[in-house]
Amino acid sequence: MTINIENKNNDETVNSLNKDAESSRRNFIFGSVAAAGLSVAPGMMLYQTANARSLSDFSLKEGASSKVRWGMLVDTTKDVDWNKCVDACNKEHGLGNEKNSRDDQKTQYIRVVDVKNKGTGYSMSLPVMCQHCESAPCVDVCPTGASMKRPDGIVLVDRHRCIGCRYCMMACPYKARSFVHEVLTDQTENTPRGKGCVESCNMCVNRIDNGQEPACVEASGGAIIFGDLNDSESPISKILSKHGGKQIRADLKLNPGVHYQGI
């Protein structure tokens, strides 16, 4: 309900956005699009689509803010073909254009992991991407500062600084990173990638900065929720506080931004 009220305020006084610098990004994502969500219970939104932000939204000028912590919640109990998310990811970032690499060398931002309990025979699958840790080991070990965490919690590689040492790949407990082994052509405009650099899921940082959800979230049909973990009123925070969620390898105390249900 709070979301709708915020939205109304935004419509009435556009200028208030500019005054309230710190919450603009949040308002935009969650405020202006509340009606588009699919609700499963009163007051609880399962997912919502975000309108594309125009360049006039001032947070584009402000840059990433530490007031926000972007995160994702993956509901593995949903009957979803996770490969749809992988395909959407590949399309968004132009992955899969390696010609000479072996399959195990090719870049993947999302892996679909199948797990089976041999005792009971229960099996399930879950998508595993960069978990966007709060204390990211890849950032700790990077010798050049290429592996970095934005103020809003997104962990990504600055390819301008990456020397391809692959220390981060060794450090990552989630095996989330890939190394490009060959000369690439035909990259997408928004995801430059090339030989000799390590890369991984960047939570579709180009889309987030433009007010869109990550590609996998859009393709998941509501099985992945994206939102601000710092905002207790955001759908993702509400669901997490009500129903809980698990982080993979929570024992490492890295506090990943990606949470799971049903694992």
Partner: protein, 192 residues
């Protein structure tokens, strides 16, 4: 340089032969030829050939051409840090950042005879046309896309200031040796 002089001697051979007998006149004559060459420099045919974008009449690049020639590396370096590391995607005036390589490519993409964008391995590519002449080898396009996505038509010049620089007219140009000498950037070793 040798070719340059040879051409002029051939063209003015009788003048040169006569003036060799009178040394002061020779010197004056050579100086005259040299100065004519600088004035009439666009005809020297020795500099790189560049192609300015279609539909660019009445528009300019983010800075005047003379400044762009010298300062474009600084713009790109500055704004890549802003964009990637800080998440800043627009300037205060809501327009795209000056140093957006995507925007450079969208405007400056060159088409070949078959109306297809030329890629980075082609000497006609806008960036390559100068960099090859100046023996600059940079790595931008090992990662960045070298041609626009789609037709590129939707992006062309949309973010540019509406300033008319009369020297910006689409078409093929030949930069001169003097132009290129003026472009040579100051060497900085300040960053990554």
């Amino acid at each position: 340089m040798w070719l340059h002089l040879n051409f002029n001697f051939g063209f003015n051979s009788s003048f040169v032969r006569k003036s060799l007998q009178k040394l002061p006149l020779t010197v004056a004559g050579l100086a005259l030829i040299a100065s004519l060459n600088t004035v009439n420099a666009s005809q020297d045919g020795l500099g790189p050939k560049i192609t300015l974008p279609e539909n660019s009449e009445g528009k300019s690049c983010v800075l005047p051409s003379e400044q762009m020639r010298r300062e474009h590396p600084d713009l790109l370096k500055h704004d890549r840090i802003q964009t990637l590391r800080e998440g800043v995607r627009a300037k205060a005036d809501d327009k795209a950042l000056d140093g957006s390589l995507k925007q450079c490519v969208n405007c400056h993409a060159v088409k070949d005879e078959s109306n297809k964008f030329v890629r980075i391995d082609n000497d006609q590519h806008f960036c390559v046309s100068c960099h090859k002449y100046a023996a600059v080898s940079i790595d931008c396009f090992q990662c960045h896309r070298d041609i626009p996505e789609g037709s590129g038509a939707f992006h062309a010049l949309t973010n540019h200031k509406d300033v008319n620089y009369s020297n910006v007219v689409p078409g093929n140009y030949s930069l001169t040796v003097k132009d290129m000498a003026n472009i040579a950037p100051e060497v900085n070793s300040d960053d990554n």
